[in-house]
């Protein structure tokens, strides 16, 4: 396997997530390089979304570490009750306990979408995008309430940028509609636009093509490629549509029952017997 020369922007080392006695993610090691599109696949319940949640700070991994742009931002090792209950590997390897809340992770440039779309239901399309820009505004609540000059300027800039972004994802026409009134496919686009509004360097997409027909998936594929170039992103995506994954990912990781069973280029993965067995089911 050829060594990737680009710098690593996201690295998971030995990430293990254990809920009670269930190991949802078992010793996952994964690298995302700059401008790379990486796929994370596996059958239902393989622990893909859990891995996402470990990266974004929603869950605290039981063991292992997450590095963003070469810096360890999350690290944990089995503690307390988990010390005895821990079933994973590399128990003694990590010693620190660094946690990070999801909003901090986002501020570090990691944005995500959700498997089951989580738009802000009571808000319009443009408001959904503007919310994501809130973290970058600097005016205090006092100034913002009383519409200081700075607040007005920031608000205006925000609105303009959001409009720009919406144009890029073909949602400008719908900007004043309620987010929930959009058709399903557009809601997916909006979720991605919203994630982009946080100015990420790494984008995590959780099943962006779920529920789409082949034509839509195809469009989405192109769309993802386009935003990667346009926004200079590195992308890690979970997907079931093999067509999408194989079409755009440069590197693919395969999970099954929490464990990492293979990684490699699309061609390598397609030829890997373990993967085929995981998907088609071997002899039980």
């Amino acid at each position: 396997m050829a060594e990737d020369k680009r710098e690593v922007v996201l690295r998971l080392s030995d990430i293990t997530m254990q809920f009670g006695g269930v190991v949802a993610v078992d010793n996952l090691n994964l690298d995302v390089h700059k401008n790379e599109i990486v796929g994370l696949i596996g059958p239902n319940g393989a622990g893909k979304t859990t891995a996402f949640n470990c990266i974004t700070g929603v869950y605290e991994p039981t063991n292992g570490s997450v590095e963003i742009n070469g810096e360890v931002v999350i690290e944990n090792h089995p503690q307390g009750k988990m010390k005895d209950a821990y079933k994973g590997k590399n128990a003694g390897k990590y010693t620190k306990a660094i946690t990070m809340l999801p909003d901090k992770v986002t501020k570090l440039g990691v944005a995500r979408t959700f498997q089951n779309i989580r738009l802000f239901k009571g808000m319009t399309v443009i408001e959904n995008v503007m919310v994501a820009m809130h973290m970058n505004q600097t005016e205090s609540v006092f100034g913002a309430t009383f519409r200081s000059k700075k607040a007005r300027a920031e608000e205006k800039a925000m609105r303009e940028e959001a409009a720009e972004l919406l144009k890029k994802v073909d949602l400008y026409e719908n900007r004043n509609d309620l987010a929930t009134s959009l058709p399903y496919g557009k809601q997916r686009h909006l979720e991605i636009a919203r994630a982009l509004a946080t100015h990420p360097t790494i984008l995590l997409l959780d099943e962006p093509a779920a529920g789409m027909n082949p034509q839509e998936s195809d469009d989405l594929m192109k769309f993802i490629g386009r935003i990667r170039d346009e926004f200079d992103l590195s992308i890690l995506m979970i997907e079931h549509h093999m067509q999408v994954i194989m079409g755009i990912c440069e590197h693919i990781y395969v999970l099954n029952y929490g464990g990492q069973i293979a990684d490699g280029t699309p061609a390598e993965i397609q030829a890997n017997p373990a993967v085929i067995e995981a998907y088609l089911g071997g002899d039980e």
Partner: protein, 292 residues
Amino acid sequence: MLQTWLPYILAGIAVGGQYALIAIGYTMVYGILRLINFAHGDVFMWSGLIMVYLITVLPLWASVILVIIFAIILGTTIEKVAYRPLRSAPRMSIMISAIGVSYLLQNFALYITGGLTKTYPAINFLQKTVKIGSATTKMVTLITPILTIVLVVLLVMLIKYTKIGMAMRAVSRDFETSSLMGIDINRVITVTFVIGCALAAIGSVLYFSNYTGINPMSGAMPGLKAFVAAVFGGIGSVPGAVVGAFVIGVCENLIKGAGWTTFSDAFTFVLLIVILMVKPTGLFGEKNIDKV
């Protein structure tokens, strides 16, 4: 030393047992519907109030049975009318509905009683004075904890070993999946309310035999305290609620005994906040993980 504190401990155990009987209703309903049934304390108050009226025409045993039946009907009707239609509505709506029902029950009681305190009928057997060591107290003080424990053991057995008990556990664990498995959710919820209200009615007989005045607000404080007991023990856990109730009952009386009477009610809430901070799942509660 014990001589001095015995009366407080006895009173605490008695009132704790009565809180426990109310708390079970809270904890079971919360376990299944994730709803703080604010009206539960008022069902308890109404049980007491109905007893006052029934006893004037019926013998004691018949009144007690009718009171229990009344509480069950009231509780299940509230569920059917005020909670069931809102089951798929946001969580806040159903809680507001519960508060509204509580407001209605209190005001209706206010209207019926004319705002006056009614004296609970004397049940001689329960109100007989007995002497334990240095303390003199009512018979009900001794009967309450025993009866409470017996009822709780029966209830725990029901939940553990019967089919409906199994269904209840399943529903409290996972509402959607249970309904997919063909469990009749509505029946489970109704049974939950039946059990909760019946116990509250029994609790009302014991409680009001001990503290014989009933007014429209009589249910509010015991209700809140019972809910705190349920949280303390770990919401959804029946034994937890009982332990919580006894702890609250005893502590409350010891605090009064220590001369901090101003803060006897406030203490319950301090306890609530401390437990929520330190162990939000309560003593026996289980942690559940949010799905993202």
